[in-house]
């Protein structure tokens, strides 16, 4: 059916075979091998449209291989590989298989050349990923997972509606660049926006990611949102509204990240914020900007995973990821601490770390195109990222006040995964050419100029200075056991309250109506009896048709009574 072997099938096959392999090192090894083979396949695929076949009257393209899809495919394989090493110790079959299916669906979606395949994989990521949340097996995770799934599938059905409208409009199912305007394109845009966690559509993420299992969050952090970034880059590059959406995305989660207590939720907000940078890049839409978006997606998958891994290791050893409960762990988990700091330095774009060579492309692109305010916002967002993820996360987890917790260092497989990821974060920061070579367009950009290095260091060190002084003066918000209201308040509190009110009113009205209706029917029957009693009209000879009609009426009335 296709000329090339689609890489997603490897993951599906892996997921099917996995339960048959003895649960232990062999199975973990098998899982880890799948993304390696898949990456090799992707690497070897020649550019062009492959895997085309006719299905349900439509030409489907399973493999659109170009630089954009390839780089996302590769980084997804890389992320799956690292996350599966990190999850080596997991023996829960459901998590093992759904991790592979989830990664496979994301990779399938990235290579989908038409909207039908995209939709199929889009929903695939939603279904497979929810198990990583449910696998926590608590009441809270169960409800969170359900909410997450409804939002994710919601994105899918909006996408479906958009695809169908698009098809009715244009007769085409091709997944190419689109221009916002028709309801169809808006629906598709919205569907991408939900998965990309646009402002006000973002709540599923801080809700769900901290609710997943230790390993689940690491896996979740890589795929869904980056898939959305890919889809936006493919479909809506250069759409101006994305610049502003991205700019808002880049700042508002900062505030939440600063006050949030659960460190995995802090990291989720910072992930949301990093997506803002990418969305701005897509909105700017120049070659430089798109290169920046892709490079940043690549780098951020790695450092975000690293940060989630390190805090996950803390959670695994101590049972909590809350800033208010942690502190002083550097003594007993020094390696985890160092990896966390490397991730923090990368997300803060310290020179020599991966964020530095990717984020700067987007900032430069925005300033080249004259978006000065957006540039200023992004600069602020960079400093903010440093405050909450660069300093706060490692500080509260590993330093700050000694919590008295003396956990053992993370298990070997976690250390190995973190070590590899940390190595990559530094490697990309020190020697960015291989990454640049993967980008969709040719890179004519030098990140390590004196100006750039000095200004970035100034920004960061003075931000650190501000943090130090605020911390010492006690102005910095303390870590409190609390949750912070976000937009999900609208559907977790306001919505149910409104529904409750409506239900109360409707029930009242309904009760009144039924009462009145019953009296009416009784009255009607009495009237019928009076008019057409046993020796009245019914006794006469009637034409059959009319007869049947009357029977019908009578039966209808009996039926009504039956209901009451």
């Amino acid at each position: 059916m296709t000329d090339l072997f689609p890489p997603f099938l490897l993951f599906v096959a892996g997921a099917l075979v996995l339960p048959l392999i003895p649960n232990g090192h062999p199975r973990s090894l098998a899982a880890v091998i799948v993304p390696v083979i898949s990456a090799y396949f992707i690497w070897m695929m020649p550019e062009g449209m492959h895997g085309q076949f006719l299905f349900m009257g439509q030409e489907l393209t399973l493999l659109r291989v170009d630089k954009l899809s390839t780089v996302f495919g590769l980084v997804f394989c890389l992320a799956a590989f690292l996350a599966l090493i990190y999850a080596w110790h997991v023996r829960d079959t459901i998590q093992q298989t759904t991790s592979l299916l989830y990664a496979g669906a994301a990779i399938g979606a990235v290579f989908a050349g038409d909207l039908i395949s995209l939709f199929i994989f889009w929903e695939g990521t939603a279904i497979a990923s929810v198990f990583l949340i449910w696998a926590r097996r608590t009441e809270g995770a169960y409800s969170t997972g359900l909410r997450y799934l409804i939002v994710q599938v919601g994105s899918g059905v909006i996408l479906l509606a958009g695809i169908l409208l698009q098809y009715v409009d244009s007769g085409s199912m091709a997944f190419d660049a689109m221009t916002l305007g028709s309801p169809a394109t808006w629906a598709i845009f919205l569907a991408f926006g939900v998965k990309c966690a646009f402002p006000l559509l973002h709540n599923w993420m801080p809700d769900a990611y901290p609710a997943a299992t230790v390993t689940g969050t690491v896996i979740l952090s890589a795929f869904t949102t980056k898939l959305a970034v890919y889809a936006l880059a493919r479909g809506f590059a250069g759409t101006e509204i994305l610049i502003y959406i991205g700019a808002i995305m880049a700042i508002f989660p900062v505030f939440y990240a600063v006050i949030e207590n659960d460190l995995r939720r802090v990291l989720t907000y910072s992930l949301n914020q990093q997506l803002g940078f990418m969305v701005v890049g897509i909105g700017v839409g120049t070659e430089l900007a798109l290169n920046g978006t892709v490079a940043h997606a690549f780098a951020s998958i790695l450092y975000q995973a690293l940060l989630f891994m390190s805090i996950g290791a803390v959670l695994f050893r101590t049972g909590t990821a809350k800033a208010s409960e942690l502190g002083g762990l550097y003594k007993t988990m020094p390696l985890t601490m160092i990896f966390c700091v490397i991730g923090a330095a990368s997300i803060s774009s310290f020179p020599l770390f991966s964020g530095f060579v990717s984020k700067s492309l987007i900032l430069s692109a925005s300033v080249h195109e004259g978006h000065y305010i957006v540039w200023g916002i992004l600069l602020f967002a960079s400093a903010g990222a440093f405050i909450h993820s660069g300093i706060k996360v490692p500080f509260f987890a590993f330093f700050a006040q000694d919590s008295g917790l003396r956990p053992k260092e993370a298990p070997w497989n976690m250390l190995l995964a973190m070590g590899l990821t940390a190595f990559l974060c530094i490697a990309i920061g020190v020697y960015s050419d291989p990454l640049y070579a993967l980008l969709p367009y040719e890179v004519v950009y030098v990140s390590y100029t004196t100006t750039h290095v000095v200004t970035q260091l100034q920004l960061l060190f003075f931000s650190a200075l501000a943090f130090a002084m605020l911390m010492r003066t006690g102005i910095y918000p303390p870590a409190l056991k609390s949750v912070n209201l976000d937009f999900d308040w609208s559907y977790r509190k306001l919505g149910p309250a409104l529904i409750g009110a409506v239900r109360y009113v409707v029930r009242g009205i309904w009760g009144g109506l039924i009462g009145t209706g019953l009296r009416g029917v009784n009255w009607g029957f009495a009237a019928l009896q009076r008019a057409h009693g046993a020796d009245g009209l019914l006794a006469r000879a009637w034409p059959t048709g009319q007869m049947v009609l009357w029977i019908a009426v009578l039966l209808g009335a009996t039926l009504l009574l039956n209901y009451m």
């Binding site: 020094p334 300033v367 509190k493």
Partner: protein
Amino acid sequence: MSKDMKIPETEPSNLPWLGRKLLWLDSIKNVDRIVYALFIVCAGLLAADFMYHKHSYLDIEDIPGFYAAYGFFMCAALVVCARALQVLLKRDEDYYAPKDVASEAYPEDQMNRETIND
């Protein structure tokens, strides 16, 4: 952790090698030293602004110490605003539901509470 909770004494010999090496961070004096070092680095970076030719796109970038000031004041403003927001947005952990991810414990069978004393 509440402030009055007794922190168990830990034998340094129980710590991993790297942890022992980092123990100097435990002393307040050394933390102060780090902050002083930060002051010096910041001063140095500010001075650096006068020592090379800045390649800039915007006039505002040419102001000496622009990035430093931007970073410092924006972060200060961010933290102050966030603190105000915290007052406004803070709720108990079981605000949404009695059994919420925020308030329930991470299941014991999915983690491994080994300590260095084990």
